[in-house]
């Protein structure tokens, strides 16, 4: 039979605005967190990562925030562009260097021109 897909949270943002995508992770032992972007028909693409000894990390137009107290991770994308439209997954891992990553459900981000 046909697989029933998960209902993805969606977020629509006007081009040029900032977006924030949130993720709740499950394992308090996780010490490594990554955001991936997946465009239709493609594999996940690494965006940014953060270790558990940090609470903020910045990249080019992206910032990841980690709140270990409430097991929450967020990805901020500044000045969004049409090419940012994709599904964004957070992933968590333990034992850095042996990457059995657990992926979240994903959020579909749509940039409105």
């Amino acid at each position: 039979g046909e697989s029933v897909g998960l209902h993805l949270p969606t977020l629509s943002v006007q081009e040029g605005d900032n977006s924030i995508i949130n993720c709740a992770y499950s394992n308090s032992a996780s010490d490594y967190f990554i955001w991936y972007k997946q465009e239709s028909g493609k594999g996940p693409q690494f965006i940014i990562d953060i270790r558990s000894n940090m609470d903020k990390r910045q990249g080019q137009r992206v910032t990841v925030l980690l709140n270990k107290t409430v097991k929450h991770l967020s990805l901020q994308i500044a000045a969004t562009q049409p090419g940012d439209s994709a599904v964004y997954f957070c992933a968590e891992g333990t034992n850095f260097g042996n990457e059995k990553l657990t992926f979240g459900t994903g959020t579909r981000l749509t940039i409105i021109p």
């Binding site: 260097g97 990457e99 992926f103």
Partner: protein, 114 residues
């Protein structure tokens, strides 16, 4: 820019048949992985491979699955006797020694089991 390449892009097979999915990781990478994604669902870890042996595997990776690095460039996933529920997109990934957590994924091989 170096990339992970996977073949075939799509394979259709009959239930019970053996399938081999092939991957060429990025050349200086030392950690290799297979993940899969059933249509519309989460990406799921299958197996990680380092120093010519499996370093970790998930409960999905049962006796029907095996991985091999037959030479210095290829990394393969074999499913011995496919089941309907093996239908999914299979992603190969690799990472380098200095940044083992930064996985580079291929574009995937779609497996359809009839």
């Amino acid at each position: 820019e170096p990339e992970v390449t996977q073949t075939p892009s799509h394979q259709v097979t009959q239930m019970g048949q053996e399938v081999i999915l092939r991957c060429v990781p990025i050349s200086n990478h030392l950690y290799f992985y297979w993940y899969r994604q059933i249509l519309g669902q989460k990406v799921e870890f299958l197996v990680s491979f380092y120093n010519n042996e499996i370093s970790e595997k998930s409960e999905i990776f049962d006796d029907q699955f095996s991985v091999e690095r037959p030479d210095g460039s290829n990394f393969t996933l074999k499913i011995r006797s496919t089941k309907l529920e093996d239908s999914a997109m299979y992603f190969c990934a690799s990472s380098e020694q200095d940044r083992p957590g930064e996985l580079f994924f291929g574009e995937g091989s779609r497996l359809t089991v009839l």
